[in-house]
């Protein structure tokens, strides 16, 4: 778990709340439902259309996959109901006490290039927006670039241009170019959220899947100061 600076009271927003906040800013978030029973999970899968992904929603469990709290590529509503139960059992075996808000059922995103857009609030610099490539491997590659808001679309593109892996966005070895404008717009919106929500300390949108047209936020973490 994070150890926030002494005297600070921070908490991670439950993912449905985080996604709602992003959607309120017209950011493209993956279609999802919160299920509290296996039956609701099956219904959500039916409504959203399979395949779906199931993720545990609990303030005590930020690293969901480390404790078996995530099921990818769930193919049918019946499998979704079973996955609900399996996640509950598995997480209970890893974490002795936790508050279960429910299990998020989200549509599996179509493939594309995985990037991260993030924000941190630094005591000296104020908010800083980050973009990077590599999805879950971002800390390994450290191929990231920062900017201090306000952020213009042109500067957001300059920031993406700094990445060593920028060719993955512009069309590498026959791959189609990705929608850099949509991604740059996401980064600008994150900068705006930072300006308008001083209580937000950190944002990780990771991954955002960038496609030929548009991009999709698949996972969102937002740390707020209370």
């Amino acid at each position: 778990m994070t150890t926030p600076p002494a005297g600070d009271r921070t908490r991670w927003l439950p993912e449905p709340e985080a996604l709602r906040l992003l959607a309120d800013y017209s950011l493209p978030v993956i279609a999802h439902r919160l299920a509290t029973t296996p039956e609701e999970a099956a219904q959500a899968a039916r409504d959203l259309g399979c395949p779906v992904v199931l993720k545990v929603v609990s303030p005590e469990i930020p690293h969901k996959s480390d404790v078996g709290g995530v099921r990818l590529n769930v193919a049918t509503p019946e499998d979704a109901a079973a996955a609900f139960t399996a996640i509950q059992t598995q997480v209970t075996s890893h974490v002795s006490r936790f508050t279960l808000h429910g299990i998020l059922v989200a549509k599996m995103a179509a493939p594309g290039t995985e990037v991260i857009v993030g924000m941190v609030r630094d005591p000296q610099f104020g908010p800083a927006v980050m973009v990077g490539l590599g999805g879950i491997f971002v800390e390994l590659y450290k191929d990231v670039a920062f900017r201090l808001p306000p952020l213009t679309p042109a500067e957001a593109r300059a920031m993406l241009g700094e990445l060593k892996a920028a060719p993955l966005l512009t069309g590498y070895r026959g791959q189609p170019p990705r929608d850099v404008d949509a991604l740059a717009a996401c980064a600008c919106t994150v900068a705006r959220i930072a300006a308008e929500h001083p209580e937000i300390q950190e944002i990780d949108l990771n991954p955002i899947i960038v496609r030929e047209r548009g991009c999709m936020i698949v996972d969102a973490k937002i740390l707020v100061h209370e």
Partner: protein
């Protein structure tokens, strides 16, 4: 003379409300040395001597209650006894007496003080309290303060060396440094090479005047074409961003302390990757500030940014008398994103008629061991229209090399292996405002600075 009009009034900065522009620091009419000393090992002696020997045109007043005369100048007993018209005081007295001295300066109508003395915030809580008293005294009396705990100010264009060592070579690079020695080293190199500086300011504890004030001032200074700074941190980020974004002159900064400060283990990837250094990198990139990796890099970048014209493109031709140097230049050019393009066929053909048979007509174009200024000139003239930049490497003691190059032309000059001839020709080129670099690596990397912010966006 530095040219600057008006009074700086910055809202939200109480220290500045009563203050004057920094002209009194850079271009004072006359100067008082508070704590002037007759002991040659003391800064009170060294600074007075440097001010006198640098050719300062105004009056210089040593202030010392116990001496009657120092270095042939009659001493004034106290600040209150100074005649009118003193704009600048250089203060070199024990820390505990400095707050009163600053107040006295204000009382006497002195507009600025450079506090050399140490024993302030750098030395613990008692010193920090004294520094607050200095700030208070300065604020009340409207005196602008450089320092304390600094190595002074040098403006060669005004004959003002209120600093050490004694350096007087005039140039176009302004040096701002949070370390006195690091800044002085830069100015020393520039002076030794006869390239010179437009100004040197040692920031010290920067209790009042900081890097942002200086960038703001130097942006308007007619002698300054590029600003080089050594900083351990930016004091006021918001004002720095605002001032730098309208500065209009190239800035290069060596920011030290690049280790993992500010980075910490965290649950979000963004937090764990956002160390202080990454945020400085972001700040500098978005303000189009060049970031230097070392002191030499800072110097080279400043030279390039102040004196080299902006290229139209990246196609370079290397003209050399040293094969090895030509290959090294080519390696660095490739790594730095420059294009080593082939010589157009007709140009190569024409050169074959002009040059001795053993010259290698390619890119690099190697005149080999007996390259002369005359041969260089022929090649430079014939090829100039076909490339964006010429990289001219003098790899031997080539007499009259300085006659080959043209100030303001897209030519990067590298000179090595030329011993005494090299030193003479380099000084001649520097006096023509053509910068000369000592190795292919340093020259090419400096040239690449001019492209650093081109085509950044994906």
């Amino acid at each position: 003379m530095l040219h600057r009009a008006g009074v700086v009034l910055a809202a939200g900065h109480p220290l500045r409300i009563m203050s004057h522009s920094l002209d009194s620091i850079f271009c004072p009419r006359s100067v008082a040395v508070i704590g002037a000393s007759a002991a040659p090992e003391k800064f009170g002696y060294i600074i007075l001597k440097n001010i006198l020997e640098a050719g300062f045109a105004g009056s210089v007043y040593p202030v010392n209650p116990k001496a009657t005369e120092i270095l042939g100048r009659p001493c004034t007993q106290s600040i209150a006894d100074l005649p009118p018209g003193v704009d600048l005081a250089v203060i070199i007295i024990p820390a505990r007496a400095v707050p009163q001295a600053v107040a006295d300066c204000g009382q006497r109508g002195i507009k600025a003080a450079i506090i050399i003395s140490g024993g302030f915030a750098e030395s613990g809580e008692a010193g920090a309290a004294l520094q607050r008293e200095v700030v208070e005294a300065a604020r009340r009396s409207g005196v602008r303060v450089v320092g304390p705990n600094c190595q002074g100010v040098n403006n060669p264009h005004h004959g003002l060396c209120a600093s050490w060592p004694l350096l007087t070579e005039q140039g176009e690079i302004a040096v701002i440094s949070q370390s006195g020695t690091v800044g002085a080293a830069l100015m020393d190199w520039a002076s030794q090479e006869r390239l010179g500086c437009s100004a040197f300011v040692s920031l010290g504890n920067r209790c009042d005047v900081d890097e942002t004030d200086l960038i703001d001032y130097l942006a308007q200074d007619a002698n300054t074409r590029a600003i080089a700074a050594y900083l351990e941190g930016v004091k006021d980020l918001a004002r720095f961003r605002e001032v730098v974004s309208r500065c209009g002159k190239p800035i290069v900064i060596l920011k030290s302390g690049r280790t993992v400060e500010g980075r910490r283990a965290a649950e979000s990837h963004t937090r764990s990757l956002a160390g202080r250094d990454e945020l400085y990198t972001a700040l500098f990139r978005q303000l189009r500030i060049h970031r230097a990796d070392s002191l030499e890099d800072l110097y080279d970048a400043a030279k390039a940014l102040a004196y080299l014209p902006k290229p139209g493109g990246r196609r370079i031709l290397t003209i050399t008398s040293s094969g090895g140097s030509g290959i090294l230049a080519t390696d660095w050019a490739e790594w730095s994103g420059l294009q080593v393009a082939a010589l157009p066929g007709p140009v190569a053909e024409a050169l074959r008629g002009l040059l001795p048979a053993h010259c290698i007509i390619a890119n690099p174009l190697d005149l080999t061991g007996d390259g002369t200024a005359a041969l260089y000139r022929k090649v430079v003239e014939a090829t100039a229209p076909h490339f964006d930049y010429q990289v001219i490497i003098f790899g031997d003691p080539i007499l009259q090399a300085a006659d080959v190059v043209t100030p303001g032309a897209p030519q990067l000059v590298i000179f090595l292996g030329g011993a005494e001839v090299e030193r003479q020709e380099r000084a001649r080129m520097h006096q023509k405002k053509v910068p000369v670099f000592p190795t292919p690596e340093r020259g090419i990397r400096a040239l690449a600075r001019l492209f650093a912010f081109d085509g950044m966006a994906v």
